[in-house]
Symmetry: C2
Amino acid sequence: MNTKRSRRPLTLRDVSEASGVSEMTVSRVLRNRGDVSAATREKVLTAARTLGYVPNKIAGGLASQRVNLVAVVIPSLSNMVFPDVLGGISAELDDTGLQPVVGVTNYSPSREDAVLYDMLSWRPSGVILAGLEHSRAARAMLDNAGLPVVEIMDVDGEPIDTAVGISHRRAGAEMADEILAAGYRRIGFIGTHMPEDHRARKRLAGFEERLGEHGLQLAAREYYQGGSSLLKGREMTERILAREPELDFLYFSNDMIGAGGLLWCMEKGYDIPGRLGLAGFNGVELLDGLPMRLTTTDARRIDIGRRAARLVAGKEPRPESGIIALAPTIMPGETIRKH
Amino acid sequence: MNTKRSRRPLTLRDVSEASGVSEMTVSRVLRNRGDVSAATREKVLTAARTLGYVPNKIAGGLASQRVNLVAVVIPSLSNMVFPDVLGGISAELDDTGLQPVVGVTNYSPSREDAVLYDMLSWRPSGVILAGLEHSRAARAMLDNAGLPVVEIMDVDGEPIDTAVGISHRRAGAEMADEILAAGYRRIGFIGTHMPEDHRARKRLAGFEERLGEHGLQLAAREYYQGGSSLLKGREMTERILAREPELDFLYFSNDMIGAGGLLWCMEKGYDIPGRLGLAGFNGVELLDGLPMRLTTTDARRIDIGRRAARLVAGKEPRPESGIIALAPTIMPGETIRKH
DNA sequence: CGCAATCATGTTACCGTTATCTTTTATGCC
DNA sequence: GGCATAAAAGATAACGGTAACATGATTGCG
């Protein structure tokens, strides 16, 4: 099966010699391009197989000026948000010959610049990146690169090329509507202290704005550092309720801390959703198994991934406006009163 | 800042002309290699910046016969286990100039072959892949490639080159010890029905073997299809207890379903850990916020990622045996009786 | 001051493919 | 059977960098 570990790496030439045809013909066979007779095709294929030849995309990419890679730049892996998006992207890219390559920025603009630079140096066929806020340098790079750029997750802003996402302002506002309609009035907010998480910021802005329209404002807010976890949700919930015991609703900036808050409140015997209502954001699978279903907003992650992928793959035309806005949809759950 | 969107992509030649030096000198500046005077360095850098030049790694890689990529091939992203591994890898690769590129196989051997083939066609500097079980074709490819290969997560088997992980047999056996020492005797198991999840299989084998040494065997087992979620954990727990109400312990093949099981049992009012003990596997952060801390085994994911990365980066020599076995460590939690 | 060592830069030849064009061979059709 | 046409294969020249070597400019030092 395996040839003795030859030191010199295999090239087209080796396959060409082994099968007695030109390198060009081998290349054609391996890429299924151009006319090759069934006989030679077979010869070449077996030669390639027995040698264990693996094409060199570095050389191929240089020669063809085309690389089947799509750069995907996102802030974080752990967020339990990203795997869904990537799932959507992969699913849609699967039959296009394009392959996603992921870069992670950790919500740092300078890391984002670096990651982008690095990705672009591979001359991908397209770029999908999270958010609409990018450094001047990043915008310039992307502009210059002259390839499809899809900014995902958010549509509240001016896309470089195309944007696919939900309006986080709207998501926040709609949740506010829901909460107010259910009669809650003393509302607290818990979120990360991350100036770079623009989407969380916009969500809160939309939320507060809507409260304002009803003559209300947040009765308390609590910010935390670092990653989101159930434990953090518990801590923050305890803290905010200790400070403001009269709150009748807690709006969490994501489901993970929302779930932590929910567990804590249930243990403490709070009457939910009667005495205290809760809501999160994202619509993650995790929530399905909680003792009580947390009300949340589905951020349409899979759809966003799919549409973004369709755009870079050219399966779908870029809309005139450059913006594809999906509707964030509230998933009622059981932690908010019926009205 | 940005030059008018020129159609022709920028090359070294453009920078060279703009700064009045040879392409070679530009190349040297951009890579910080070789001697260049401070003056020209500055000239080149500003030229590159104002043009918005991004190096072409395709061309560079071909010329230098060297690519700063490390292929990371894993079965799944959603597992909440691989993000940790990736974290460890990135952390350790950060100062080496190497960059991880992730491929996902969905536990399918044929997908694994395809992903590997694809990755190798980029001629990476090293490969990190999950598990010790690979197709003959995959082993041949890796053998042929002549680069460092680190198989991670598992050490129960024969590595192609080097392996870093824990012994899942041992992890299973040690958990069995713990459970037996606490006096539980009627033990049930809940896990995925995935013939390709070799690590889960080995864990169970080690577990059962140890039970056997004590003259016991599993009193019940329940397998499920598809992904692990809290909800699935609840369902499976309900099912196994309906079928075998006399069980006094449930060993879950991962923490997610373990957590689901725990929540269900608590709701049903089971006395835990008195009447019924529970244990999972992995040691994920999720567990920290549960109403009761689930007993589990820390699979050393971050350490595994780090060591693997150190090996491919050449920061650490390959051990004589080719195997780096980390110790799986039991995290007691509160769902198992004290003994 | 002269000569070797060092620094700074340039020249040339690939790296392993694929695009494009050319040549050779097979095929169809009246 | 001859000639237009298509199919199959090959030859050649990029693609955009970098390695390796060559060269010109400085510097150090007895």
